[in-house]
Symmetry: C2
Subunit: 653 residues, 2 copies
Amino acid sequence: MRIVFVDLYFSVSVVSNSRLTIIQSIYTGIPRDAQITRIEFEGPEIAVYVKNPSFISGNMDVVKKIAKEIKKRIVIKADSSIRKDEKETTEIIKNIVPQEAGVTDIKFDEDLGEVLIKAKRPGLVIGKGGTIQQRIFLETFWRPVIVREPPIKSKTVESIITHIYNETEYRSKILKTFGERIHREVIYKDKYVRITALGAFQEIGRSAVLVETQESRVLLDTGVNPSVSFGERMYPKLDIDQLRLDDLDAVVVTHAHLDHCGMVPYLFKYGYEGPVYVTPPTRDVMALMQLDLLDVAEKEGRPLPYSAKEVRKELLHTITLDYEEVTDIAPDIRLTFYNAGHILGSAMAHLHIGDGLHNVVYTGDFKYARTRLLDRATSEFPKVDTLIMETTYGAQVQTSREESEEELVRVIQNTINRGGKVLIPVLAVGRGQEMMLVINDAMKNKKIPEVPVYVTGLFDEVTAIHTAYPEWLSREVRDSILYKDENPFVSDVFKRIEGYREDIAQGEPSIILATSGMLNGGPAVEFFKALAPDPRNSIVFVSYQAEGTLGRKVRDGASEVQVINRDGRVENITIRMEKYAIDGFSGHSDRRQLLNFLRDLTPKPKNIVLNHGEASSIRAFMRIIENPREKERLGIKNSNIYAPSILDSLRVT
Amino acid sequence: MRIVFVDLYFSVSVVSNSRLTIIQSIYTGIPRDAQITRIEFEGPEIAVYVKNPSFISGNMDVVKKIAKEIKKRIVIKADSSIRKDEKETTEIIKNIVPQEAGVTDIKFDEDLGEVLIKAKRPGLVIGKGGTIQQRIFLETFWRPVIVREPPIKSKTVESIITHIYNETEYRSKILKTFGERIHREVIYKDKYVRITALGAFQEIGRSAVLVETQESRVLLDTGVNPSVSFGERMYPKLDIDQLRLDDLDAVVVTHAHLDHCGMVPYLFKYGYEGPVYVTPPTRDVMALMQLDLLDVAEKEGRPLPYSAKEVRKELLHTITLDYEEVTDIAPDIRLTFYNAGHILGSAMAHLHIGDGLHNVVYTGDFKYARTRLLDRATSEFPKVDTLIMETTYGAQVQTSREESEEELVRVIQNTINRGGKVLIPVLAVGRGQEMMLVINDAMKNKKIPEVPVYVTGLFDEVTAIHTAYPEWLSREVRDSILYKDENPFVSDVFKRIEGYREDIAQGEPSIILATSGMLNGGPAVEFFKALAPDPRNSIVFVSYQAEGTLGRKVRDGASEVQVINRDGRVENITIRMEKYAIDGFSGHSDRRQLLNFLRDLTPKPKNIVLNHGEASSIRAFMRIIENPREKERLGIKNSNIYAPSILDSLRVT
């Protein structure tokens, strides 16, 4: 049991924005002829079911006004009694939506009154200013949910949608549970905000931060430590008294790398029943990465921390949010995601707590610079009191993007010219897609010879997911895909292959992009073994190589390495290929970018909490920003700077 | 629910010193002819019930050896079937114990097999080297528990013992529950120690520190904030997720001032069912102070945080420990109390955690200097890794004791000589008794004239409790009472009176010691009102006067004050009496004493955590001890120094 100081000093129960008030505002605000039949709290959204949906034609402003007043997300849905049947609805949709939209699938969620429309050009299903979307609603009385059919078929995206639409009853039930919990009464008078370091403090890996108020608890990220393969240092410190899964209001995942999301299904295994907030791309990539974690662990004979069952449950508990969409996740906490520029769908999480009491920004991993794939991370927020910021490269300056690209082009040119092949081991998410954009551009601009570019491994499935979410990519790529109909990921430059292919390894000059990025598995290792002995070939490392990996040994200059074969035999590989490491493609901010972020950050925070960095890196960065002149220059001279260790808690207000 | 990382990495269950091992060691170690009938875990003690207790005559060494080996407290008790009946036992005791012991009461606890013997000279019941005590056991088969009948009758001591002996069945039941819990299996592999500031950090009042390991949780002190009379700043931050009363292993109370113990009954109100560890004098004074808190709140019409019922429950859950008695309080925590020199029974709490993993010393309030009443606080511990230390006077240097005593003598002399009376308002616990010792000594040594010294108010009952515990007083006082049979508290110098007496206020020159110490209630106020207008009289403040109290106004030089009468009318009091404030009698260490304590502290801690001081005081003290030269001089140059705020947590290992 927990002590609740209510009996002693509690006088008036605070019913701020409680459900009653919300329901009253809606009933009094919405015209009577809408004929409201019920109001449901479906997760963070408030669904108003009406018998006469056509009232919205002239009244959308009224609904928006109420939503603004009560600071809630209101959606109008039709009462199930008036909805057209599925067959008729399908016909109507096919009639209304133009042929060119390329509708590929229509699915119904009876419980939530929604119809999913999958289309190659979702913009044409929405229509200018949402006109077609609204017509579908008013003619079928189903609320359309429109998703993109990716040009590269993604098994992941497909099976996630199928899974969710197979479980509509469960999902509508839990959304109502979430909704009631989010809008519960605020009972405490005392206000505080406390953050607790559970993982990725004074280290990299197993990210997790607990944010507590008197009312609510939110877990930001729940990752694994990829550099540890067993034991309790592999996971964040989740097994503490402070973290009771039945009291946890929300899990927020900032991006799909396993060191940020790899342990979320574990929470479900232990009985967590609440929501997981992510961006839509993060949901899909996250599930893919988690299932891959299980695959790899199984192959290596390690115990599995959870099973696919929990990944499926997690998916049903996921609530997706777009960037800058303000959402209630607890009675006193609003979450908003902002672009973090790190990988597809990566977000900074902004928590607005206690109606202005305190604002926390948790950056997750972020890139404060434009990349080809993504726009630069946000540095402007409505309010910031406490900033929790990653410090991976707090001590390092990277080569500039321009120089890095030039170097890559030079290596490719030289290698191809002498009849060699270029192997670029890539991480599944982020760097691989960035390389595709760089190479596609260089080839289109004739900077490198037109040779086949093979892409293989897990990262190809991730690329497919990228093509489902062009709106989440950098302005250039987005515009190119949406307005010029030029999708670099489906460029004819790229040849997708399955795994390793001997004929390619023995064939003509080519460029091979393959996972894994540190040569610790996947087709990249097979290609490496085949290409290593030939001095005409090159290997180019574009991402971090962890201690102990094959990639690290090769990069550090080994002339011979031993590799264990699939059949368990040791093989000696002589390395005569040329080796390059280019550090300017990182998805993390380097020291200069971290400092620029602080300089540009608006407004300036009272507290800066450094995490996600080796102790030495955090120390070095702290020394820089605590220097009085630098503090002045960055405009943070009144900010307290903290570098907590795991299990430290900090009361921030 | 809480996550328990057992399934993943747990291989072998650690059964270190578990109950099974303990029982086996006892069965194999104790001679067969003892005829063990059962072994019970009674709180921290392990009671071995035997049918042939006489085996111990030649075998006490064997028992001691086993106790040392398994590091547990073993007591030998007789099986209930062989115990003599109560009447016969009483006769035997009266025959064995010499007349001069002054036995006043004999009580039986059938459930624990103990007989309580109350005597004016308990030493004579124990006998040289415990011989008489052992004879009682071997002839009656009841285990004697011997307590002192205080020369000044104490209602508190009496009613506590009666209460406990009325509830022997309940008490023996819960002791077994405690015992099983204390000796439960250690299941976690990971080890950490974490302390959380719940009260009296960056402030004085509402002391509370939570110490957590993966296994156990211990709450050190649970006080009220005496300078706040309502609202949640009155209590420590007990209402947090981290503190679940059903998971709490122990509450440790360092001394009986309400800012350290005032909220303990509140824990029971909210369902705490565990033990409270205190020294024997702390138990008695604590209960008295808590009941007084209820009295005062009731008189002032404030809501009561708990009722007398919870104080009674707390008493049944109390386990008393002597100084330097090492005791298991959780499977991975051993508690030892050390003298703190602050008030009667005050203790520093030493926690030995995880078999040497970490050692925490929590000083509570302490005086690192000899007073008349108490010996100087301890500064030597077997091990210290983290020191949590009070800093009340981190910024102040007090007048020396000698000068303070001289000044008091001078004031008394002058006042008496001019025909006046001296009023000394005293706190109920500590300062009042110290004043008695100073005055008694001065009068015996003819330093001040022989006038009546009146003692009145709550503090007189506290004085009575002092007389029950001479062993806990300073060496001088103890020796004087135990060996010279001179008890200064019962000296004929003192006249005990009930409340206020007009005839004394209007009578001959005298000295009046009365509570409360800050003139916010009690007979001190009545005497003040009567004595204030006469310039021949004096008032001497010997303790801290809080902001807003009548004492503070008078001390600060007001020439007229308004007092609200018992019948609600406002009375104007003109102050013509002389006013003195003497600061050298404090029970807290001043700055120099705090520094001396750190200098003498053995061994030196890795972490020093400052608490129990106003923010300014802590800041000032921190500045001093962080000065490199001072750090060097104190031998703490490798210690980290922390000054957390409430709700901060610190992982200390």
